[in-house]
């Protein structure tokens, strides 16, 4: 019986499924989820009602006769002032703003970050400091100067102006993000690639980029949601005919004429939020991983 002690269980006692601590934990989680999901629930069921049903009063009761009319109206018929074109033009404006801004800003920032991290040059430290400062300056400071700059460039009041402004404002923070990520990758890989004869671009595309999926995902999410949700730059630089979706949504919801169509407003709001929501759902896993990875080393 020399081994008797080995037979006895050791370590923490396994908890039963319904231990008080666990029940409390799940209760808290479920309550929090409900708290955050109720507004979404109300929005969805309201958007499926017609105005008569809404007037019946209780916003929590789902309708028995759901209709998609409000969604159709929000997309293609809702009026802002004299234009009754719905959100569709705003959606396409937002798409035309977001896609180039995201691609250009990420392309430039990733290459700059790579240069700063792996190819130190004389003024690298200065560039780094300037970027750091740049990412903390409030946007409002630049609004008027940028109006003048875009006017002089001849792109004020066009989609190009919005793309330009978003790209410029995305660069400091994205470059920092990429610099830190590349600096956290093992330096010896970079050295090995140089011994193998790979140059600046080949190391970037063949060695660095394949290891950087998480940080590219983070950058895409930050940029897509940031640019899609932007209101300020859209109002200022796009010009009335090119308003992005967020600005049009605001105009629909805040329009003071006629009957207040809650169902259309709810549908319009959900439609506007759909793009960032989809991005989050598709890439949540990588997003968390990338944020963590980028944070490890500064």
């Amino acid at each position: 019986m020399a081994n008797a002690s080995a037979i006895n269980p050791s370590g923490a006692k396994p908890q039963p499924l319904l231990a008080p601590g666990r029940v409390a934990l799940y209760a808290a989680l479920i309550l929090t989820s409900i708290y955050y999901l109720i507004p979404l629930y109300v929005m969805i069921i309201t958007s499926l009602k017609d105005l008569d049903m809404i007037r019946e009063g209780n916003i929590f009761v789902p309708t028995l006769r759901p209709t998609m009319d409000a969604w159709v109206k929000a997309w293609s018929q809702a009026c802002t002032g004299l234009n009754c074109t719905g959100l569709a033009p705003g959606f396409w404006n937002s798409v035309f703003i977001t896609i180039p801004s995201v691609i250009v800003s990420i392309a430039v920032a990733s290459i700059s970050g790579y240069s700063l991290a792996n190819w130190p040059f004389k003024l690298a430290e200065w560039c780094f400091t300037i970027l750091l400062v740049g990412s903390f300056i409030p946007y409002q400071v630049f609004l008027y100067p940028l109006v003048i700059i875009t006017r002089e460039m001849g792109i004020y009041s066009t989609l190009y102006a919005v793309v330009f402004v978003h790209t410029v404002f995305g660069l400091p923070i994205l470059t920092l993000l990429f610099r830190n990520y590349f600096a956290s990758l093992p330096e010896e890989l970079f050295k090995a690639a140089r011994v193998d004869g790979a140059g600046y671009w080949r190391i970037f595309f063949r060695v660095m980029m394949p290891m950087s999926l998480p940080i590219f995902t983070v950058a895409v999410i930050l940029q897509v949601t940031g640019i899609w949700n932007d209101f300020l730059f859209g109002v200022i630089y796009a010009g009335p005919t090119n308003y992005p979706m967020t600005v049009q949504l605001n105009n629909i919801v805040n329009s003071l004429q006629g009957v207040k169509e809650y169902n259309v407003e709810m549908a319009a709001t959900i439609l506007t939020g759909l793009v960032p929501l989809t991005i989050y759902f598709l890439s949540g896993k990588y997003f968390v991983r990338g944020i963590a990875a980028g944070a490890v080393k500064g």
Partner: protein, 358 residues
Amino acid sequence: MHSVSVKNLTLNFGAVSVLKELNLDVAEGEFVVLLGPSGCGKSTLLNCLAGLLDISEGEIWIKGKNVTWAEPSERGIGMVFQSYALYPQMTVRGNLTFGLKIAKMPKAEIDQRVARAAEILQIGPLLDRKPGALSGGQRQRVAIGRALVRDVDVFLFDEPLSNLDAKLRSELRVEIKRLHTRLNNTMVYVTHDQIEALTLADRIAVMKGGVIQQLADPQTIYNKPSNLFVAGFIGSPSMNFLAGQTVDAGKTFVFGDTRIDLKGYDGGAVLERDQAILGVRPEHITVSSTAQSGPSIAAEVEIDENLGADSLLWLKAGTKSICVRVPVEGRLPAGTKVHLGLDIAKASLFDAKTEQRI
């Protein structure tokens, strides 16, 4: 013609000078180990040889060509890193051929070189795996393979075995030795492990503070260290240092009350010095229970460390701690009073002021 030649190399990082006026010539087919504690500049020197660091002054020649400002890939070197540095998204084959494809080598030749490297390093079955699916030892083989397929004259190793466990380390150490015998390339190998240095090297360069302290074959480094630092750094446990004076025109060393005859000392003119240090390795001291004929140091056993093959006795002579290596049969219990005899022919005498060997 030297295979690798470093001339007056100086490297400054800002105001800090990491390597100072360093000279090193490595012969064709020679295995040179750069050995030293962390921060001594050994890896920095290797990176300079590889062209991964721009030097401040001096010249680097490889195979009779001045490569001081050449790109790493143009220097005819292959490098093996401590962390393996395999490209994680490529297969083993991809890792081996990455550099060859960049050099636009014909496919037949690439295949032939990969096959040869795989045969030499026995990594044939691993060629289509990703590095993530390999063990540490396998990864390091692949890393060596990547240098091998380049078919270069000079191999640079940057602490290649430091990330491996003790057993694998000694296995791969033998394998690197075998590789060197087979290929007969010039190899420059950085390590802080003196066993690796002593076993692998044709010559060892012991470094400290960006300066080569001594460059010699392992036996000379071990038996005739050129200064106190080298003497203390090489050997485990460390050499015993006895502080005293030399008198009688350098014929006698005085340690405490003991006068030690320096007859048979293998070195330069001893002369009379107020401050001298006598260095004796643990295996060059004999222990006996009675006073020896001639001078001997009285001491008391403090600790007995059994190493299996032999045993280390830690003794106290007055306040001075002395270590002696004895055969297992010679083990003594703590508290035993003994007399120590020194093998002067194998000892080293240092000037305490200059710290140089006399």
